[in-house]
Amino acid sequence: MPQIFPKKSNLLPHLSLGALLGSGLVVVFLVWYYFSPEYTDVGYAPEQPVAYSHRVHVDQLGLDCRYCHSFVEVADVANVPATETCMNCHEVVLPQSTELMPVRASWSDDSSIPWVKIHQVPDYAHFSHAVHVNNGVGCETCHGRIDHMDVVHLVEPLSMGWCLECHREPEKYLRPNEEITTMGYVHSAGFVQDNLNRIKQEGIRPPTNCSACHY
């Protein structure tokens, strides 16, 4: 009987085994890299209705975060400031600026400025700013060097795994409460031990159970 397959098809089993393993690795890599929030979300920097620069306000003028995001210590949401907060200064500072036109328009007709939200957490994950800033999680830890941004962009992936990294080992990330809004904070030597002491003293127990955030 003649052979069904030519002799060179003896290579096929080895090739297909190699291809199977190879493509498996490639798929794992593609999913690991391209499907991760670090790839899909980090760097998100939408255009805002007003060209507001955090660099100018924080770095050059020295505003504290809490001047505008005033509920951060008492509420779940760190509010985007009302137009009135802007106008506290801009009534007298640059009152004729064309760039501030939308702000003045909002002020005069009592409408909201449609700021675009950048730091999105899913609806089923509850997050409280107050709990975090009152227990030593600095603004910078999650939002990055806002004081260096003309246009705010997402710095951290905000994925669940990323949350858990800190919830499982908070001592590596906490800072003294009076340094919460400091940008470019440098941890003191031996801060991990200090944090461990503080965690013990103040009973800071970041939960890692499901219903801590999903309720």
Partner: protein, 469 residues
């Protein structure tokens, strides 16, 4: 030795495994023939019905995914309705195949050779149907991969303490091993089909899957060793899979579920329903395909005996549950069982009892064990009974929970019913395709149990006797 000859003489002779004086070539011809010619018209009609049901299933899965599990009757307090009932039903059916092919192989039960191929096919298709139900039951099908321990952005593992997760592993391992076992056992037969194939395309496909099998001595030696090892590997799985399925219930604290008898009782029930399904399918197939000489009435009788045995074991477990409920003096347990037999679902309970415990008792009568119409009817009744067993376990235990204000009566919706009917469409479509394209009987193995395959066969049969092949 003369003593041993005398001893064997007292054992009544086993009926021949293959009747009709078939030789090696006849068996090849009888089985391969059906993969090579146009199938009988009844095949087309059945395929039409089952593929219609399959389409309904696919449409309903789409409907379910789009709308959510609210389209089913599942609701408080019965959170596990038909999907879980159907899952356990199909997994149970998927047990006979590996029992026949692995355990009976290790016990040298040669009658298994006639039925093992189709029973294993049935197993694989039943497990596919079984895997479908929990998958769509999770609600958000698109995150079903959460059941697997894969690294992910949530840095979360599945809950290893949950029997539902053990189930994922148990059933998928069972599926994989059954599939490999089925395929390895088929290699010599695929080579037979390859050698008979006339067109190049068919020959190449079969050539690919028969892995270069040439029937060489070395091939046979490797094959038989592999088969033995796989049989040894599959044997514990036969027992473990349905034990783990029973843990889904037994590990919980619901009265009526929280019972230590569950694993053996579930395994017996699974073998019971699996053998019934094999009988249903093979009674039809042997008739339609004219292979009554290979799958003989003696094979069917042996299956009937196993059905009688396992059915009685299951019935014994039903009664033991009642005894333990009384003996435990736990009032909740007692209530659960009294409610089962006399409550709003008493009708289902008594269907289960009569189909599973009482009906197989007819098999004590040899005439009924060998009556094809009776076997066929009983095999269907057994599977109705086994579906109701799962229904009784799941629904009656849940519908009256710890809080009487939430007691309710479970009603399935039309989606429940058509999805279940559709799963039969999936099962039958796959089985019909198997009958059409694959050797439905393990030809090589059947040939091995022919008396002529004994190397010493011709020692006693001298040349003067007419050869049987």
């Amino acid at each position: 030795m003369s003593t041993s000859t005398d001893h064997t003489a007292t054992i009544p002779a086993e009926p021949p495994l293959v009747t009709g004086n078939l030789g090696f070539h006849d068996i090849t011809q009888l089985v391969s023939y059906h993969t090579e010619k146009r199938p009988p018209s009844v095949w087309y009609m059945t395929l039409l019905v089952s593929s219609t049901l399959l389409s309904i299933l696919l449409i309903l899965i789409g409907y379910l995914v789009w709308n959510g599990v609210g389209v089913w009757g599942n609701n408080n307090p019965v959170g596990w309705g038909w999907p879980i009932v159907n899952f356990v039903f199909w997994v149970g059916i998927g047990h006979a195949g590996t029992l026949i092919s692995a355990i009976l192989f290790l016990f040298r039960q040669q009658w298994r050779t006639a039925i093992n191929r189709s029973a294993e096919a049935m197993t694989i298709f039943a497990v596919i149907c079984a895997l479908l139900f929990p998958t769509i039951h999770v609600g958000r099908v698109w995150v079903i991969y959460w059941t697997l321990p894969l690294p992910n952005q949530m840095e979360m593992w599945p809950q290893f303490k949950s029997p539902l997760l053990w189930d994922v592993f148990a059933v998928s391992v069972y599926f994989t091993v059954s599939l490999v076992f089925w395929y390895i056992g088929m290699v010599p037969d695929l080579a037979t089909l390859r050698d008979r194939a006339r067109n190049t395309f068919k020959r190449r496909i079969l050539g690919f899957f028969s892995l270069g099998w040439s029937g060489a001595n070395r091939h046979w030696r490797n094959y038989e060793k592999t088969y033995l090892l796989l049989a040894a590997l599959a044997t514990p799985l036969v027992l473990s899979v349905h034990s783990v399925v029973s843990f889904d219930f037994a590990v919980s604290i619901i009265p009526g579920w929280h019972t230590t008898i569950f694993p053996p009782y579930f395994v017996a029930g699974a073998i019971f329903s699996g053998f019934a399904m094999v009988m249903t399918l093979l009674i039809l197939a042997r008739r339609i395909y004219g292979i009554e000489n290979i799958i003989t009435i003696d094979h069917l009788e042996k299956m009937a005996i196993i059905t009688l045995l396992t059915g009685t074991m299951v019935g014994f477990a039903y009664i033991t549950e009642f005894f333990i409920a009384w003996y435990s003096q736990v009032e909740y347990e007692q209530y659960a069982f009294i409610n089962r037999a006399t409550g709003p679902y008493a009708w289902a309970y008594w269907i289960m009892m009569s189909c599973n415990l009482l009906f197989p008792q007819f098999f004590w009568v040899k005439r009924l064990r060998r009556s094809i119409p009776f076997l066929f009817v009983t095999s269907i009744i057994v599977n109705i009974g086994m579906w109701f067993e799962r229904f009784v376990i799941t629904v009656t235990s849940l519908h009256r929970d710890f809080l009487p204000s939430s007691w309710d009566y479970f009603n399935p919706t039309w989606v429940d019913m058509l999805t279940f009917a559709g799963s039969f469409g999936l099962f039958m479509t796959l089985f019909l395709l198997f009958l059409r394209f694959m050797p439905m009987v393990a030809m090589a193995e059947v040939k091995m149990v022919l008396p002529e395959s004994d190397p010493h066969f011709y020692d006693d049969h001298d040349e003067s006797e007419p050869s049987t092949h």
